[in-house]
Amino acid sequence: MPERRLLLLLLGITNLAFLALDARTAWPSPLLVIAGRIALTVVFVAAALLAREGNGARVVQETVRALALGTALSFGAIVKGTGGTSGPYFAFFSVIPIVFTMVVPDDVPAAVIISVLSALIGVLSLRGGDHPLTYSAFWCVAYASSGAYAVAGALLHCRFRWREAEAQQGRVARERERLERELLRQRLEFIGSQVNDILLLVTPDGAILQANDRAAEAYGYRGEELVRLSIRDLRAPETLGEVTEQIRVSLAQKKHRFQTIHRRRDGSTFPVDVSVRPLDLGGRSVLQSIIRDVSEEHRARAAAEYQSMLLENLHDVVVGLGPDLNVTAWNHAAERVLGFKREEAMGRPGREVASLVSAEGLAFEEVFAKAASEGRVRSDIKCRTRNGEFVPMESTVVALRGSEGALLGYVAVGRDISVRRRAQEALQASQEKLRRILDTADEGIWVVDVQGVTEFANGRAAEIFGLTVSEMLGRPFFELVPEDLRSIARADLESLARGEKTKRAFKLRRSDGSEIHLVHSRSILRGPGGEVAGSVSVFTDVTAQRRALEELQQAQKLEAIGRLAAGIAHEINTPIQFIGDNTHFLADAFADAAGLLQRYRAVLARGRAAEAEEDLERAAQEIEIDEVLREAPRTIARTLEGVRRVATIVRAMKEFAHPEQGEMVATDLNRAIRATLEVARNEYKYVADIETDLAELPLVMCHAGDINQVFLNVIVNAAHAIETVVKKGGGRGVLRVITRCEANEVTVSIADTGCGIPEQIHDKIFEPFFTTKEVGRGTGQGLAIARSIVAKHGGVMSFTSNVGQGTTFLIRLPLAHSAKREAA
C-alpha cells in the first residue's frame, strides 16, 4: 500500500500548490478558494492516514469525491472570477460530479467521467478566451493532471482491491470452513450428546464420516470402527438393494425420510426411521442421517394393538367414562350387550347409553360418586339396554386417577350374568340327568382318582358290594372290595398303566353268602388335558347270563344224549336180541343133554348098556346132540361177545355222561374220544367208517363231560354231513379222528367226507340257533356250545371246509392252561 499513500500525499501537495496559486491570484474571492483547497487537503491527508489503516477502498472513494468537490468548487470560482456568462454551467457542473460520486458505487467510471468533464471544462475555458492562453493552459494542465491522478488512483485502487479481495476471499473461505466444521462438530456433539437418535454423516458413496456415541452404542461398534465402515455394513441384508436409490433421492431432495432395517454388529436387526438431509460441507456433499430405533415404537404399537384387541375380545362389557361421565370407550361386548354401536355411544352421557341401578339401589351418578370416593365399587347391577330391557350384571367400577391424584375418568366392567346363570342351571340339570342315568344303569360304575380313592359310584356299584354310596365316596377302592378282587385289581394296574383296558370275570361272594359272577372292565380316565385322572371300573353282573348259558349247555347236552338214546338203545338191543336167543338155545340144549345124560346113567346103572344102545342112540338123534355139541361153543362165544358189546357201550355211556364235578380233572382225551365214538356209533355206522389215529397224549385238565360234548357235537355233525352225501347216492364215507400233542397244546382233528360247508355261511356256523338241518333234527346250539366250551378251556376251535369234499374241525386245547390250573 505504499503506492497509494504516496499518491494521496501527492494529491495533497498538488492541492496545496493550487492553494498557493489561488491565494496569489486572489481572484475573485480568494477566501472561498482557499477554504476549498484546505478542505481538499484535509481530506487527502485524512485519506492517507486512513489508508495506513488499510481501509483502502473507502479512502479512495472519499478521495475521489473530495477531488470532485474540490474541482467543482474551483471551477465555480473560475467561472465567477472570469465574470462570464457561464452561470448555469456552474450549477450543472458543480452538482453532477457530486451526485455521481455519491451515487455510483465504484470509483473507476466516476473517475473517468470526472476526468473527461475536467478536460471538457478546460477546453471550454480555452474557447472562452477570457484568459491569456498561458494561464488557461496552466489550468488545463492542472485539471488534466488532477483528472489523471484521479484515474491513476482509481486504477491503482482497483488493482489493490482485486488482489486484496482475492487474499481476503481465501482467508475468509478457510476461516469459514474451519468455523463451519467447528460449528458442525459442536452441533453434532451437542446433538449427539443431547439426542437419543443415531446421527451419521455419510458421503454420497456411503462411507461413514462421523457418528455419534449413540450410534456406536446402537450398532455395537466402537466409534473409530464405525467411521471406517460403509452405511451398507449397517443395513439388514434384505434392505441392501434400496441403499443406492435412497442416497440418490436424499441428494436430489432437500430432505428424505424413510423406514428401513439396520443391523448390529452381532447380526441382529432393528427397525429404524431415517431422516436424511444433504449438507454442503466446504463444497462437498454430505448426507446427514438422523436415525431413530423404532423397535420400541413397534413394540409399543403392537402392545397397544394387543391391548385394544384384548379389550375388544373381552367377553365382559367395558365402558370408559370421562370425569364428566361421558363415554370415552365402548368395547365390542358393550355393543353386543347394551345394543348401542360404538359410534353412537362415544361422547354421549353415560347414563343415556348405560343407565344402571345397583343392587343396593344406587343410581348411575351415585355409583360413580362412590367409585370416585372409594376408588373401586363392586356390585351387582342391572343395566338398561337400548331396547329397554334390564340385563343383570356383575360390575366393577374403577375411578382412574393420574399420578397427582386428579380424576381422569372411570372404567366400568360388567359381566352379563344372565348367561352364566343359565349355563349354571343347564350344567346342574345335565349333571343331575347324567347322575340319574348312571344310577339307572344295570352296571356298577365306580370311578377312582389316581390315588385309588373313590370319586364316584353309582347305586348299582354300591348294591353289588353291599355298601352305600356315601360310605364309598372318599374311601380307597382297595379298602372297600373283597380280597380276591383286590388282587385282580392290582394285577390290572400294570396294564392300565400301559393305557390298556382290562376286562376280567370273577366270582364275588356277598355278605349274605350268595355268589354273583361279575365282569370287571376297567379303563383309564383322562382329564381335559389328557393327563391320567383316575380310572373307571364297570361291574356287570353276569350271573343270570352265566346261569342261562349253563342251562342252555346242559339242555343241549340232554338234547344230544336224548337223540343218541334211541341209537344207543338199538346198539344195546341188538346184542341183547341174540344173547337172549342164544341163551334160550343153550338152555334147551342143556335140558336135552341133561335128559340124555340121565338116560345114559340109568342104562349104566342097570348094567344093560348093550340092549339100550339103540334106544339111547335114538334119543340122542332126537335131540340132535351132535349138532348141538357143534353149535354150543360158537353160541357161547357169540353170546359172550354180545355181552361184551353191551358192557362196552354201557361203560362208554357212563364215561361220556361223566358227571360234572365243577372242577377240572386230568382227562385222557383219547379215551374220551373212543367213548364218544362208541356212544355215537349208531349215528354213523350205516354211512361211514371210522379211522382213528390217536397219538399218545398227556392228561389234559378239563371238564371231561363238556369236552365229550364238544367231540360228540362235531362227530354227530360229521355223521350227518356224510349221511347227506350217502342219501344222495354217494358211497360210504370216512370219519377220521386224529389227535396230536404239540409243544404246548393238544390238537384233535375230526374230518369227514361229507357235504362240506358253503363259504357264505362260514361265519355263521358258530352262531347260536344257526342250523342247516331240518326241523327237529338240530336246534343250532351244537357248535355254538362246543366253541364256548373250548374257549372256556382257553382253547381254539376252527375248521376248514370244501363243499363236496368234506369238513375238518380242529380243536386245540392248551396244555399250559391246564398246567397252570394244576399248579394253582
Binding site: 338199538h570 341188538t574 336180541q577 341174540f578 344173547i579 336167543d581 342164544n582 334160550h584 334147551d588 353160541t635
Partner: protein, 161 residues
C-alpha cells in the same frame, strides 16, 4: 311142508340167534345179511314169511319190505327192530306193509307165537282163496251154504234167547 321164513339183519349174530331160536321149530330158514341179496333170492323163490331189521346199511327195513310187497304180495312181513321211530311204525302198519312189529330184544316165545300166527294167517288165506275159487266154479254152492247157515241159526235160536 314147513313154512319158508326169510330173515334179513345186518348183524350176523342176530341171524345166528334166530336160527338157534327156531332150532326145533318147523320152519325153513333163509338168512341174509344184506337186503339186496335177499331181494335177489326173492326174485326166484317164493317165501311165506319175511322178517327184517329196520336200520341197515344201504337200505332200511321199511324200504326193503316195501320191495318185498311188490315182489311177493302174499308173503307175511314182520319187522324186527331195535330202534324205529314211532312215525315209521305207525306209517308202516297203516299202509299194511307189515303184519307185526317186533322190537329187539324179542323173546323166543314171542317170536314163535308170531310166526305161528303168521302161519295160521297164511293158512286161512290159503283156505279162503281155495273156498272162493270153489264158490266161483259152482254158483249153486253159495246159495246152499247160505240156506244151511240160516237153518242152523233157526235151530240154535230158541236155545239162545
Amino acid at each position: 311142508m314147513h313154512a319158508k321164513v326169510l330173515v334179513v339183519d345186518d348183524e350176523p349174530a342176530v341171524l345166528e340167534g334166530i336160527r338157534l331160536a327156531l332150532w326145533k321149530a318147523p320152519y325153513d330158514l333163509e338168512l341174509f345179511e344184506r337186503p339186496e341179496d335177499a331181494l335177489e333170492y326173492l326174485r326166484k323163490r317164493p317165501v311165506d314169511i319175511v322178517i327184517s331189521d329196520h336200520l341197515m346199511p344201504g337200505m332200511t327195513g321199511a324200504e326193503f319190505l316195501n320191495l318185498v310187497h311188490d315182489r311177493q304180495p302174499d308173503a307175511v312181513r314182520i319187522m324186527l327192530s331195535g330202534h324205529a321211530d314211532t312215525e315209521t311204525v305207525i306209517r308202516m302198519i297203516n299202509e299194511g306193509e307189515v303184519y307185526r312189529f317186533l322190537t329187539k330184544p324179542c323173546d323166543r316165545t314171542e317170536l314163535l307165537v308170531t310166526l305161528h300166527l303168521a302161519c295160521e294167517k297164511l293158512e286161512l288165506e290159503r283156505v279162503n282163496r281155495k273156498l272162493l275159487a270153489l264158490v266161483r266154479t259152482d254158483p249153486q254152492l253159495l246159495a246152499r251154504l247160505e240156506a244151511l247157515g240160516s237153518q242152523r241159526a233157526d235151530r240154535l235160536g230158541p236155545h239162545n234167547p
